[in-house]
Symmetry: C2
Subunit: 217 residues, 2 copies
């Protein structure tokens, strides 16, 4: 059994796919949702006894590494909701992307975020002692959900705490074919987040599910 | 012999490396510089008779595909200088990146460009009938210059004219190991350009020369 991880917003496409993959890899996974019953139902649907479903706040309190898998439009509200449940030392993995779709715009465009990036906004909102790692932006939920196939891509992790990046890297690399790359400080998340819009542009042009690999490492 | 290409700003690191690679692949390459004598000297230094050196304006008039390889801080001035020499139907490949270094800032940060991106700024500055393709942002000049080694990366090409992308793709793919990916319309160049700052961040963290590959295509 690997460590226990929590997924706030775990009933969405990316959260559910991540829960499935991490449970398959031997993690105990606690899925959170605004509605605990919905989370329990989603957890049961995965069909792996290592996955349980609770409220977002309960999930946030249940693990040292908590993945935040809500849409960007719900990011600030959700962080405020779970803030009291995040123990000092918790790592919050912000996967949100400020796509223009959050305000009804095009998926190939991103919003300007006053803090610089969604990741930096998350860091500004969490309680002192909680470290934000930004990641998983460019990983397709469709491919992540397809457990029959290994991924063939990297995910860029950004944080001001390199030890936190290393810890999150170990977890996400439990997904077959997914490599984590330490991309730099949290301000670099601005670029990693925008790459989601780039991938969507390429997906439209090429009718594909693209991923990114960093060469030369 | 492949087609003739021109490289405005061809005496800089990326321009010179590109000239060397394309000449080795069988192109006739016309290098431009503000100082024609300097361009001729640089061309001679490559040691391939397929490379010649002239003024930037002469280079701009010499080929249907013209690579613009000056620093972003010189982009607008150079385009104004060569504008009259760009024939209708010319494709200008803008490789400039609005790194903060252009104004003395960090290489891991980019400037906001009023037109959206350096590529869009170029399109706004060229004469009517000239098409801008934005590309080569994330290709390391060091690796490109090392003709003993194939590259292992993609370059993202953005333009509002897909035929122009296809034409530029054929040229840049003459560089062994370099694949061109149609990344979308010119506004996507904003993201492709920022990825240069991301690569620099990773290069610093990992003491490497990173490149990018798009998977799933």
């Amino acid at each position: 059994m690997n460590e226990r991880v929590a997924i706030v917003g775990g009933t969405g496409a990316i959260g559910l796919a991540l829960a499935t993959r991490l449970a398959a890899a031997g993690c105990e996974v606690v899925i959170g949702s605004r509605d605990a019953a919905k989370a329990a139902e989603a957890a049961a649907g995965i069909g792996n006894p290592a996955v349980s479903g609770v409220s977002n706040s309960e999930a946030a309190a249940a693990a040292e590494v908590v993945f935040l898998c809500v849409p960007f439009s719900s990011q600030a509200g959700t962080i405020k909701q779970i803030a009291e449940s995040l123990a000092e030392g918790t790592i919050l993995v912000d996967t949100t992307v400020p796509l223009a779709t959050n305000v009804g715009g095009k998926p190939t465009r991103t919003l300007g975020v006053p803090d610089g990036s969604a990741g930096q906004q998350a860091q500004a909102l969490v309680p002192k002692g909680v470290t934000v790692v930004s990641g998983l932006h460019t990983v397709s939920a469709v491919l992540l959900a397809n457990v029959e196939h290994d991924l063939d891509e990297d995910t860029l992790l950004c944080s001001n705490d390199r030890d936190a990046i290393a810890r999150v890297a170990k977890i996400v690399e439990l997904v077959p074919g997914l490599r984590a790359v330490d991309a730099g400080r949290l301000e670099i998340a601005k670029i990693a987040e925008q790459m989601t819009a780039l991938m969507i542009s390429m997906n439209i042009r090429h009718k594909a599910h693209t991923g990114v690999r960093i060469t030369g490492l």
